[in-house]
Amino acid sequence: MDIHVIAPLASPAERAAVDALLGPPSSGWAGGSRDSANDGHVARGGHAARAERDLLLPALHAVQDRIGWISQPALAYICRRLTVPPAEAYGVATFYGLLATRERAPIVAHVCDDIACRLVGAEEVCSDLARTHGPAGQPSADGQTTWLRSPCLGLCERAPAALFTVAGDAPEQIGEAPIDAVGVIARLASAAAGRPIAIDGASLSAEERLADARISVPQAGDDGLQLLARVGRVDPGSLEAYRSAGGYAALNRAIELGPEAVIAEVTASKLLGRGGAAFPTGRKWAGVRAAQGSPKYVVCNADESEPGTFKDRALLEHDPFVLIEAMTIEAFATGASRGFLYLRGEYPLAASRLRNAIALASAAGLLGSDILGSGFAFEIELRIGAGAYICGEETALFNSIEGKRGEPRNKPPFPVEVGLFGKPTAVNNVETLANVPLILREGGAAFATIGTEGSAGPKLFCVSGHVRRPGIYEVPFGTTLRALLELAGGVPAPIGVTADDTIRTILLGGAAGVFVGPEVLDTPLTFEATRAIGATLGSGVVMVFDRTADLVGTLRRIAAFFRDESCGQCVPCRVGTVRQEELLARLAADRPHGSRADELRLLGQIGQAMRDASICGLGQTASSAIESAVRAGIVPA
């Protein structure tokens, strides 16, 4: 491939950022200084040079984190290092919300204005910031700081939230919640003065760091928890602590059993995927094990970006080793030797804890060439997303890892046969994997007795909105919605008013989910029972809206979310999400085309075309919550 580079040379800082990731350039052809003795009459290129394409996103991150934005020379340098055509690299860089291709202040507050945060005043935070700091995106007078609106940051239990990114030689990222405009400005000023923003540093003792767990996980420390058993009790930074709490017993057991028996246990457990699609995990693993082609890969989908979802974040932050152990078991069972953990870019604390966990596990021989002396070899690479909800779609996630635009692929073929790098791939959600060590410890049959016939096991729910104690809750499948809300402290209501009268609606499953009314409070939370009422568990979101909530505004935010997050590949979703948003805005402004009934009929048709004709789940569910709101009478007819 002849790389046509037109930009001037990258600055020393930009080159240093890239070289810190990729090492120094090997020759003048790869962007180093020309040396006619070594660079003349050599052939460079071919598969070996192009095989590094998957380092494109990490390289873009390196420049973004160091400089605060990606300039044309910096991108050109990356292109020469990785043999990527500049037009394609530009297409990748402009795909992600957290990457800037125009000059941007190095210190940025990404302020969440998504559905959970806007219930507790995110719009006020934004309007205060616009007044005191300036309009979104505008740099401060000294050019050091700015703020931007952001989709859901996954800190819904502590809303309203903001994510701070500080570019520089020692880049920092940290999520903060709850936070108001004053807090945002104070943090920005502190960073601009060169003081650290991070609170999760060495300055805090392990005990202090653990204390935080109860905010995200109010049940932390309770007896009888399975998935959350170690949260708040076991230091997430210590492999020793994890092992003495029973960690890695499951991997030992797996190696004793052998791959087929592990898959048999997982199949017997009736574990269904927790990412939203509820596919049987055992069947997926067996498919990958049986698939032709090598090498095989395992991928952990930690790109949790569904608005209102934060369960995976809580697990990754407070129990990172369980993911490492589960992925190792999965690789052992499916015959994979390399794993990727794809984490959304908005979870810096989870990233640092996972990095630490992978390093400790590797040092202890729990990852590497001879795991636990069994001869089994497996490595895990952490890859960080850059602000794209669509990358949670498994095939878009593969493309993102491969250094392409995060556009979903058509299925079939399915990842089991043609996945990451075109090879058989087992891809599972974080919570799904967190069940695996449990299954191996307790036995698949015992696990299957938890919950109901069609929905086995414990389940995490992300309860947010108008409840007294928002957070992650673990309950067995089959617990009723009412019982779950009671666990979360119930819905604040005036004296004498029942919860049923206070609740206007509950969003199940996130922005891609369904609004239900209080009449379904006694529905057991299972895949089958929610399906029966026309709803979905999705990613486990339970967001409560009382009668004071601005529901039309919420619906418009959901429509704007899908319009922003559509990858743009297929017509129904690319244009349908725009028309859906425009239509809701017309209804809100009471300027319908024709009658309101005409508009609602048109909304239904847009929804049906998106559902039927879109390539992936994003487009197929982009109208789900909005159409359910029409059915539930939330949108006045």
Partner: protein
């Protein structure tokens, strides 16, 4: 002694048969039903292949025989029994026993809405198939409101992923409208006519040219075909093969000659003839189709089914035709 092979002083006698080509692999036929009729097509065919073999007219926009199926436009969707959603006929491979429906209410609604979404956001005035498709499905793009004001030059090229301005309740419908990009002598890029079918990207990339001068940039409705940093074509990696023009289904990419004649109102397809010839430049022997109007070559293409070009050309064959028209001053044009 007997185990020692005999020493041959002459090669063994030749077979009396001349060498034959290897036996062709048996083509496995796959049986499926399309609209209730049983069809048998070779394994590996797509549903679209089967539909065409059966004479079922299926609309396509992003599909082209000489490119990898892109399946982004979704206008070819069909209903496959047992499938939760509709399937793109252009890329879904046939399977034994598959039951395909191509004209159900569900299929017609999706095709109609997809056409309306395109028609309301993109200028389809030079897309040859559009009027017939719109008539067939009764598509009415006006349902979403009148087209909003077009963007300023290069405005859409600066839009950032995830940061759009929320709809404000105005009655108009957002479009990809923008001024035409004219930055070279050979062809223009009118992205207000772009349906983002990815064909030009594929033709510029691995499907034909391997130049990679353009790619899709941005995200969602703000996604657009772009060179790196939206630099002009002369600054980009473009080699002006024009293969992107050859595959563009809507006229967004157009010969400068055609564009200027259309602007001047002199473009007249009825008055044009197409003559196939062989490119005179090199020894490859590409087939050229010369479009001639008023005894002037106005456009050069190559037939998709040409075994030499598969429809693709290089800069010389596609654009290097002006020497043909160097006539003596004052000489009468020959007819």
């Amino acid at each position: 002694m007997s185990s020692v092979p005999p020493i041959q002083f002459y090669p063994p006698a030749r077979s009396s048969q001349p060498p034959m080509p290897p036996e062709a692999a048996r083509v496995v036929q796959v049986e499926l039903t399309i609209d209730g009729r049983t069809v048998s097509v070779p394994a590996g065919s797509t549903i679209l292949d089967a539909c065409r073999a059966e004479g079922v007219d299926t609309p396509t926009l992003c599909y082209l025989e000489n490119l990898t199926p892109i399946n982004a436009c979704r206008v070819c969707v069909v209903e496959v029994a047992g499938s939760r959603v509709l399937a793109p006929a252009c890329s879904r491979k046939v399977e034994p026993g598959m039951a395909v429906q191509t004209d159900t209410e569900r299929v017609r609604l999706s095709r109609k809405v997809v056409l309306e979404l395109l028609g309301s956001s993109v200028d389809l005035s030079t897309a040859p198939q559009a009027p017939a498709y719109f008539a067939r499905y009764g598509a009415d793009p006006e349902r979403f409101g009148a087209a909003a004001q077009p963007a300023a030059a290069n405005e859409r090229d600066g839009l950032e992923a995830g940061h759009h301005h929320a709809a404000d309740g105005q009655p108009s419908a957002a479009t990809v409208g923008q001024p035409v990009k004219i930055d070279n002598e050979l062809y223009v890029r009118d992205y207000s006519k772009c349906i983002l079918c990815y064909k030009c990207v594929e033709a510029c990339g691995v499907d034909a040219q391997n130049t990679f001068a353009i790619a899709v940039a941005g995200r969602g409705f703000d996604a657009r075909i772009s060179t790196e940093w939206n630099v002009g074509l002369p600054d980009s990696a473009c080699v002006y093969c024009g293969n992107c023009i050859g595959v563009c289904p809507t006229g967004a990419l157009m010969f400068r000659s055609e564009y200027e004649m259309r602007e001047a109102g002199t473009w007249d397809e009825a008055a044009q003839t197409s003559t196939d010839t062989i490119c005179p430049y090199c020894g490859v022997g590409c087939t050229l189709s010369l479009l001639v109007q008023d005894n002037e070559i106005v456009k050069v293409t190559s037939p998709l089914d040409s075994s030499v070009t598969e429809g693709h050309l290089c800069v010389k064959g596609r654009f290097g035709f002006s020497f043909v028209q160097q006539r003596e001053p004052g000489a009468a044009p020959t007819t």
